[in-house]
Amino acid sequence: MSALALAVRDSNTMLRRNLLHVRRYPSMTLNLLLTPIMLLLLFVYVFGNVMSAGIGGGSADRSDYIAYLVPGLLVMTIGSTVIGAAVSVSMDMTEGLIARFRTMAVYRGSVLIGHVVGTVLQVLASLVLVGAVAVAIGFRSTDATVLEWLAAFGLLALFALALTWIAVGMGMASPNPEAASNMATPLILLPLISSAFTPADTMPGWFQPIAEYQPFTPAIETLRGLLLGTEIGNNGWIAIAWCVGLAALGYRWSTSLFNRDPR
């Protein structure tokens, strides 16, 4: 077998191990999924009319706000699901099994790649679930073409990949699963202070930079544009730059920590 075939085979073995964990113990994934779904229902049914009136320019119909909110919550779902990667990587590193893998002639990167691919697949499944809830409560894409749907899907997948590598780095850097969970908390806090719930320009002036200059806002604005036909502007490029940058950073961070001598 060639080196590449071995790398693919070993990574696939690690992936199957991670997916087996998710299948046996789905509670963590479901818990993480609860946050975006709860927020979706809360904001639509409790605050929906007020919010719609605020952003929709008068018409007190919550459907306007559903349209505004759903892209933000889809991106938020990514942030909340990848926290699971930080926790499970950290859990793995504290166990003897990883030491065993390190003393076996398996492809070095396979452990982390297995976690990353497994998490991205989990994120995609979570997005389908959140999307289904959104459609059930009345979300409709207005005029998205097939190409725009594909672009939206690609953006979500890329964003998931980027945040997953960051989360894996956080898991590697944490001494235990609890610390990993704490360290990954910003991944679910950042979307709360992005343009997910209200437009950035409605926020106080001093706060707007915080909402604007962070990865969630450009990704959310791009997704809105793709699904709802709003203005994307340069948000698309900024979002892609954030994704590539975060993915590269997370990859370097995780692999350099993994290649260090274990404690």
């Binding site: 166990e95 003897g96 099994l97 893998f101 390190r102 076996m104």
Partner: protein
């Protein structure tokens, strides 16, 4: 002792050094383990045993030293070393979230066995380690002994020729310990080389062809169990007399012996070899001494351990002891 035929040793280390900050853990140790033998690294807690295993099994890197395992240089081709070895560390290296059988199949996949071959190997090893009944249960429900057995079974999936066992019986009850010893003997009879660390002297005595006593990052002594026992003072021949008069005349006749007037016993230093024993008997005959009881006392491995790892009063300095042993 097992034959160590022509080819290169399974494990060879020269000048192995490792320090964490300014704490030196291994201070230039030399080891040679011929293929097909059991080598035991014996030492108290914190002596550096686990560090030595971690380095030789490619888990961590050494600061210095010429290290070869399975004929491959650790610094140059660690991946080739990994393909030749199996490691069972001190802490169980099993996946607690999945079943025992799934753990075994995971190993089979990572060794690139075909599906059918993997299933067969897993089934065989589960059978051999008495884990068939528990094989469909999550490993988190296993007892300590079962986890240890699964751990070793997982190590054996790729049929490694060199196996590192870091304190394999720590925490096991006596029966499980003896079972583990049986398994290790079986492996060795199949030609496998075993590198074993232990704190249990009996274990080293039972299993190892050669033993190195590691203390404070250095090899304090190396040899077979018997050779090590001869290193420490305390080996002697004891003559006991029933009649005080006979005792007195023997003590006068033999002179350079240690007297124990209360027990009417004399102690003559001896390394316990047949030759020395014969010399002593000849001497007793020529001196006309006839004791009522003669016993040979050899120090056991405990004496060796305490003498060599006890701190300042080490009777044999390392350099000197190696001379006498080899």
């Amino acid at each position: 002792m097992t034959t160590s035929t022509s080819h290169s040793p399974a494990i060879a280390a020269k000048g192995l050094r490792k320090a964490y900050g300014d704490k030196t853990v291994l201070d230039g140790i030399d080891l040679t383990v011929p293929a097909g033998t059991v080598f035991s690294l014996l030492g108290p807690n914190g002596a550096g045993k686990t560090t030595a295993v971690k380095i030789l099994s490619t888990l961590i890197t050494a600061d210095a030293g010429d290290l070869r395992v399975g004929g491959h240089d650790l610094a140059v081709d660690p991946q080739a070393v990994r393909a030749a070895i199996g490691v069972t560390g001190q802490f169980s290296a099993v996946d607690g979230l999945i079943t025992g059988e799934e753990n075994m199949l995971l190993m089979a996949d990572l060794h690139h066995l075909s599906r059918s071959e993997g299933r067969r190997t897993a089934a065989e090893l589960l059978e051999r380690f008495d884990l068939v009944e528990a094989s469909k249960k999550p490993v988190s429900t296993y007892s300590g002994g079962m986890k240890r057995r699964l751990d070793l079974a997982m190590t054996l999936v790729g049929s490694p020729r060199i196996i590192f066992l870091d304190e394999p019986t720590t925490g096991l009850d006596p029966r499980s310990r003896h079972n583990m010893w049986g398994i290790i003997r079986e492996l060795v009879s199949g030609g496998v080389t075993v590198f074993l660390t232990t704190q249990i002297l009996e274990e080293a005595d039972e299993l190892a062809d050669r033993i190195a006593v590691l203390n404070d990052g250095r090899i304090a002594a190396e040899g077979s169990a018997d050779e090590l026992k001869r290193l420490v003072p305390g080996g002697h021949v004891r003559l006991r007399f029933a009649d005080p008069a006979a005792y007195q005349s023997a003590a006068v006749a033999l002179r350079e012996v240690t007297r124990d007037d209360e027990a009417l016993a004399l102690q003559i230093p001896s390394d316990g070899t047949q030759r020395e024993l014969r010399a002593i008997l000849d001497w007793l005959d020529s001196a006309g001494v006839e004791a009522d009881e003669l016993t040979v006392h050899t120090p056991d491995l405990d004496d060796v351990f305490f003498a060599l790892t006890g701190g300042t009063n080490v009777p044999n300095q390392p350099t000197q002891s190696k001379e006498t042993v080899r």
